[in-house]
Symmetry: C2
Subunit: 318 residues, 2 copies
Amino acid sequence: MIDTQRLSTAHRLIKPFIHRTPVLTSTSVNHLTGNTIFFKCENFQRTGSFKFRGACNAVAACAEQLQNRGVITHSSGNHAQALALAAKLHDIPVFVVMPQTAARVKQKAAESYGATVVLCQPTYISRQETVARLQQESGAVFISSADNEDIIAGQGTAAIELIDEVGSLDLILTPVGGGGLLAGTALAASDLLPHVKVIGCEPEQVDDAYHSFNSGTRITEVRGNTIAEGLMPPLGVHPFAIIRKFVDDIVLVTEREILHAMHYIWERMKIIIEPSSAVAVAPLLNRRLKISGKRIGVILSGGNVDLDRFFAMLTCSL
Amino acid sequence: MIDTQRLSTAHRLIKPFIHRTPVLTSTSVNHLTGNTIFFKCENFQRTGSFKFRGACNAVAACAEQLQNRGVITHSSGNHAQALALAAKLHDIPVFVVMPQTAARVKQKAAESYGATVVLCQPTYISRQETVARLQQESGAVFISSADNEDIIAGQGTAAIELIDEVGSLDLILTPVGGGGLLAGTALAASDLLPHVKVIGCEPEQVDDAYHSFNSGTRITEVRGNTIAEGLMPPLGVHPFAIIRKFVDDIVLVTEREILHAMHYIWERMKIIIEPSSAVAVAPLLNRRLKISGKRIGVILSGGNVDLDRFFAMLTCSL
């Protein structure tokens, strides 16, 4: 289990690289939900998501030893971009393995931060083989998107900043996919606000964390699909152990609730959040939590949304 | 001509009601343009635009005398919502005249802030007649969206806050339509930073301010259409006088440049700005201003965009 001391070490290490993201509030949201809600805006984080915190910590923690070897991961999402920028800032080579089927825009995003993108077949075996081959050739160290103690410690720094800024809270909500953010947040909260409840929020369609948490046995395979792509990976081993110990509950939300929450936040707060972020807002809007008069922190995990179709539509209307 | 003293009075008067909006910066935008740009985020203002500042000042300035009479305006845009909320907060009745052709969502928005919306034919004459009739019946005072000294003084408070927060600037950019924001900003700047340049930005398609400014004769009729709906009204009499004296230049941008700037800001800054705001960003992205190494303030005027089609598209994909 990670010592909470590692979170403050991580924070010190990554501070020169990360944005201290703002905490926003919304009169409309407070009025609608009957609570006071503090949104930690990791959608404004570098590379557009909290993933940069963990990636930066994982790279910074062993930058010297990695110098000539580099890092490698498989991801077509936010972790790929985050690791690419973190490595670039530390002058370390970075390889990202993506399935051929990944949107071209995701490949370009990772490349724009300096990654060498290597495509593989869209199968588990091809992915493992490709990573293994590249590791053998380059000596690059594999950095998982969530199942890594340095990653978890880095993700916990968002909650450290949130609590530092707003003080006491009754409840903190985060989305849960691989579990790095939820585990890091729970660790930070257990240290700084021992009485706060921490709840993970998960799409009903990919409810492995919910069942793992409630049964005590980690589910390793995820079936189903969700608009909150970032939450598709199964819960990692390290996050699972922390979540079982420090998290109070995991709640589920439907795809429609995710889209509704995303729409509401865009419209009222004028900020762009991705579906994964909306997963942690939905339980407040659908009132399934049945709480009022509380001080609640919500980690808005990211803001990477493909806007091309929307702007193509607007351009057509010119 | 308005005394700049009136801007600080306005600021004192409206402070209890307005949000002090954040000033954001973006590494990407700075890198791309070669300048340091400070975005004053009036898209986060109450009712979603800077218009609330002026409306609030106009109502607050004569709240007692308006108590039983109320206020009236014609607008289907941001001024309607702004005046509605300003009046509601001062417990004053408010009438908004809109053409029948205005989107139902705009009518609902004004009503949601407590306005009595009265529809008229989509002609200039019907609008004037409807306003006159309602004024006669209720005694309501007409509050123009830009051609009113209290409105101008209120709009200038955004620049006061911007300068207070970031200090010296070389240049301030705002969009220009009716001219309230540009005039108020120029007044504030002339008082606080005598050496700063102030430039208005206008869509090429509705270039009345540009020609009025350059010829010295105010054009009173606007032809043409723009995606930046908020900038359709012609330059008002009061704003024109101030702009002629205190503004350094007016630059034009195309519809495509507006959409490109809007897309870029959404994607990189993860904030929602409306096309009118993007008009003041476009001259920096298209490099038509040919400046670098400068400290530039940009007033992002609002964030009211109809997102329903985009979310309908996403819902269909579920």
